[in-house]
């Protein structure tokens, strides 16, 4: 009976991969957006599994709860319809998928083989939020301030772009 951690990992990983495949397969952009939200939430679960609590919370609050809301708004505003079907060549469809899958298996196998020596480390201390924020304000202060300027520039850019159509 494998440990509970491995079972939860495989469930979350399967959900993430299914979400990503659904992103590719769905024709309507709003369903792709929903699939991406599913991927992000399952990734937040994987972060929690690894003990990164603050990153998991930030992922859901910012990524799944704000950035994806922006995507969903834009899709709704632009009234994006379904994509049209193209004529995919038959070779691509019948040989491409199995070959691609085989390539994926190969890559996964070799990545797994190459990183097999990596043993797990004991979990982080419970004061991780405190340590993380201390790092953010001491060692990484310059990137922190630069990202705040980056966000300011992005806000200004979005406002200028939105006003231009007047």
């Amino acid at each position: 009976m494998p440990s509970a951690q491995i079972i939860v990992f495989f469930i979350l990983a399967a959900v993430a991969v299914l979400g990503a495949v659904s992103l590719i397969v769905q024709r309507h952009p709003i369903r792709s957006a929903l699939s991406l939200i599913v991927v992000m939430v399952s990734l937040a679960g994987l972060y929690l599994l690894q003990g990164a609590e603050l990153v998991a919370a930030i992922q859901i609050i910012v990524y799944a709860g704000a950035i994806m809301v922006l995507f969903v708004f834009v899709i709704m505003l632009l009234n994006a319809g379904e994509e049209e079907r193209t004529n995919v060549s038959r070779i691509a469809r019948y040989a491409g998928l199995p070959l691609g899958f085989f390539l994926l298996l190969q890559l996964a196998w070799w990545v797994g083989r190459g990183t097999q020596g990596m043993a797990t480390v004991a979990g982080q201390s419970p004061a991780m939020t405190r340590n993380l924020s201390r790092l953010l304000f001491t060692d990484f202060l310059l990137p922190f301030e630069l990202t705040s300027i980056l966000i300011l520039v992005a806000i200004l850019g979005a406002v200028v772009l939105a006003k231009r159509e007047n």
């Binding site: 440990s3 509970a4 951690q5 939860v8 309507h28 709003i30 369903r31 929903l34 939200i37 939430v41 599994l49 609590e53 603050l54 919370a57 859901i60 609050i61 799944a64 709860g65 704000a66 809301v69 969903v72 708004f73 709704m76 505003l77 419970p126 939020t129």
Partner: protein, 401 residues
Amino acid sequence: MSDFFAQPSVWLVSIIKVIVVMALMMTALAYLSWFERKVVAHIQSRWGPYRVGPHGLLQPLADGLKFLFKEDPTPGGVDKLVYFLAPFLAMSLALCSIAVIPFGPSPLLQVANVNIGLLIILAITSLGVYGVALGGWASNSKYPLLGGLRSSAQMVSYELSMTMSVVGVVLMAGTFNLREIITQQQGYWLGFIPRWNLLAPPFPQVLGFFVYFVSAIAETNRVPFDLPEAETELVAGFHTEYASFKFAMFFMAEYANMITVSCLATLLFFGGWLSPLPTTGVMAWTLYIPAAALAACAVILFIDGLRYSTKFGRIVLPILSLALAGLAAVCALDGVVQIIQGPFWFLSKVFLFLFFYVWLRGTLPRFRYDQLMSFGWKLLLPLSIANVVLTSGFVLASMSK
């Protein structure tokens, strides 16, 4: 995590806790709708529901049966997956946040004690925007789309000031764990003022509470911020095209959000399960306040039941009052008195917040949409940021002494 599944006592207790909390929550949602209708009616000088069962107490049951058996048409041209997903998403997310809320000091009264409990509630609230946005879009109609977009834009805007207003509390408490935030509000300063975050040194979070509560009302789409779903505007907003059971899910999601936000306000600013009066020494009689309150309710209900107009009411209401009196007697027993303190104070504070919500609904007119957005961005967000700056200044000053 492996030891969670290995010990049946742990996961069995968790499952039982989840079932109990879910059952209590659904009952509370149903009777919150009854409470709202009664209070709004009395504010408007009328009686509200009073025919279905004594004092209209069976009205939620009747409403539930109606929602189950009414025809549930699906409008043409909708995206079926998203149409069915939106109310389900809204309700399940709204019910999730109760899992981390502690109802009392005992570990049995909280389903999950997580180190980032506060962040989890904020995360679930930010995911709740999807129920509204997708519901509005999936209805394939102009009014729901506009209502859904407006409503979700409002929720996203007020989410910012809500999150920032809570940062002051986190700065003073030093942790995201809800249980620890409450235990740090114990004690009194100046001898008699309880050390709740609303009134506590180094910086009383009055501004934070004001911004938090107003943002929470806007976040849950309640009056005076309910323009996107008001009956006189935009037909009914994002839930126009939803009938019977799916509408009931949106409805319950809104009430569940109200309850969550009231619980959070109690925990963060009003001391959670802590009693406002000291319970030791000469004030030991305050331990019997729960029993006394329940006994008073029982007496009032008994007298009212004896004089009720219908025969059914004259039988049922006195029986209910006797049950309440029995509960009051149980609360006065020696073993139970200590245990009942926490949940009683917590639930009464949450009840006061819910009453305030309903009172606002019966009293205030609603904001226009542009007034609403400018209020959120131009007043509440700068106020909450100012609160963070002031709180951090005072906390730093008190730490360096």
